[in-house]
């Protein structure tokens, strides 16, 4: 049964294992829905533009008789875009698609590397089973019930969907010079994060959080003066960050 986020742990030659957080049913469904919308919109756009150009007037109506040109230039490419989207893009983008990128996930092989072309094709062939009986029923049940949230295609291809963590970044003052102050590394991160988010918070929230941080890490309250209290709280936090 699915539980909290699990990590795929991959051995490395350095002796320090690589840890990749496995994407769960929610992230998978989100990526799939994004991709589904993209391929539907692109396929429809092709159909509409193709039909308008074919008819030479504002009409999407198909010809009355079967016409190879209509089929070859309007219908078949639209169907190809819709049905071959995952297969072609996963090969071209080495295990990713626009939807997966937007959802912050990507496909990896069991060794943490990019899946092979054969694995990506096999994964997509098994969509036939995963999509049964409708709305990816088999795939969804399999994703919910398996430990690594795998659909049948992933089991066959030996692939997993993991979080990209592309947005992970260092706290602003991580490289600041160390000192003998009261702040430990975790405290420095909290102060740095609060300073980063300062402009997005309301004045009340800024002052409340600044007071809590300063109380915890031994900083003092800003001296009462006629100036801007908001700026005084910020200056006190900056002083604490630079004094560690």
């Amino acid at each position: 049964m699915s539980g909290p986020v699990r990590d795929l742990t991959v051995d490395s030659v350095t002796g320090i294992d690589v840890s990749l957080p496995v994407a769960g049913p929610g992230a998978r469904a989100y990526a799939f829905l994004l991709d589904w919308h993209i391929r539907l919109i692109v396929a429809l756009a092709w159909f509409v533009v193709g039909a308008l150009l074919y008819n030479g007037r504002p009409s999407l109506a198909p010809p009355l008789s079967n016409d190879a040109r209509w089929f070859g230039t309007v219908v078949a490419p639209a169907l190809a875009i819709y049905f071959l989207y995952h297969c072609v893009l996963e090969l071209a983008m080495r295990g990713s698609t626009p939807g997966k990128r937007m959802a912050g996930v990507r496909l990896v092989a069991r060794d943490g590397g990019s899946p092979s072309a054969g694995a990506l094709l096999t994964r997509n062939v098994f969509r036939l089973v995963d999509s049964l009986p409708l709305c990816y029923g088999v795939g969804l049940i399999s994703v919910v019930l398996t430990r690594d949230h795998l659909r049948i295609g992933d089991m066959a291809a030996g692939t997993l969907l993991v979080f990209e963590r592309a947005e992970a970044r260092l706290p602003g003052s991580a490289a600041a010079a160390p000192g003998a102050g009261h702040l430990d590394a975790a405290g420095a991160e909290i102060v740095a994060e609060l300073l980063e988010r300062w402009s997005t918070l309301t004045p009340e929230a800024r002052q409340r959080l600044a007071r809590q941080v300063l109380e915890r890490y031994g900083g003092g309250e800003p001296a009462a003066s006629g100036g801007d209290p908001d700026a005084a709280w910020r200056a006190e936090l900056e002083r604490l960050a630079s004094s560690r």
């Binding site: 590397g113 990019s114 062939v125 592309a166 000192g179 975790a186």
Partner: protein, 330 residues
Amino acid sequence: MDGAARQRALSASLLQRAGLWREADARTRRLSSGRSDDAADATHLADDYRLLAHDLARARTLLPDSRTREYLEAAYARAHATLHRGAWHIGSELLTLFRDEIPAVVRSLRTYIIWSMTIFALAALAGYALVHRYPELIALFASPDLIATVERGKLWTEGLLNIVPSSVLSVQILSRNISVSLFAYCAGFLFGLGTLYILGLNGLMLGAVFAFVSRHGLGGPLASFIVAHGCVELSVLCLSGAAGAAVGEALVRPTHAGRIESFRIAALRSGKLLIACVALLVGCGLIEGYVSPNPGVALWARLGVGVGYWLFMLALLSGRLFGRRAAHPR
């Protein structure tokens, strides 16, 4: 120095290296996105990988629940993926696939291929015998329209090109055949039973329809229609069935650590054959759309196309089409 002070000092010294991590991660991102082909970047990557591994190990101990650790985990994973990513030359990958890998799969599936063909042939014979003996059973295998057309002394394939253009017909046929072929493979997931069902049902239908049209004196024209594309089409169905049967057997009798692992290995290995099957079915669709329904193509020409395409299939599956030489025993 007490423990807490020591920990603070170690953490502080670790955080001092943030600039190096940023540089390493920026280099990795440039290389992984293909925006850099700088040799200096590439040679730096191995050093970056070691640096990130070393600092990540320290961060896991000193700063287990911090954004610093999270950043290092992500940067290290990216460096690992970039460093371990093989070269991606789609042309040489495809050549290796068709010249070496697919022939190897065909050899390893030889027994399954023989069994699939036997099951298909037996089902076709059974279908033929059933409808030959009990003609009313054709209603189980064919549509009322098809039955009515044959009873009027005509084949449903006559005049097909007057209704649908060849290109449309080809695409319709090849997409239908490809989905049947892929289903025959995927259905192996049901412990091989799904594959058995698809092979059996298609064999029964073929035999039954042949028996039915033969009773109305149309067996010859139907064979003439089928011969150009059917040799390869039916062979491909048996090949897909063989690949599906291998997947099914891996689940019934696992040969590796567990059923899932066994399934994965069998599916990945036999799935390569499906790529050749799909390519062959595209050719079948074109023949079935342009040659088979065309009354202007003589029987000898159809026979030539059918046999020629079948020999092409053998050359493809043995790898000789792409320059593979037969192995000679020493």
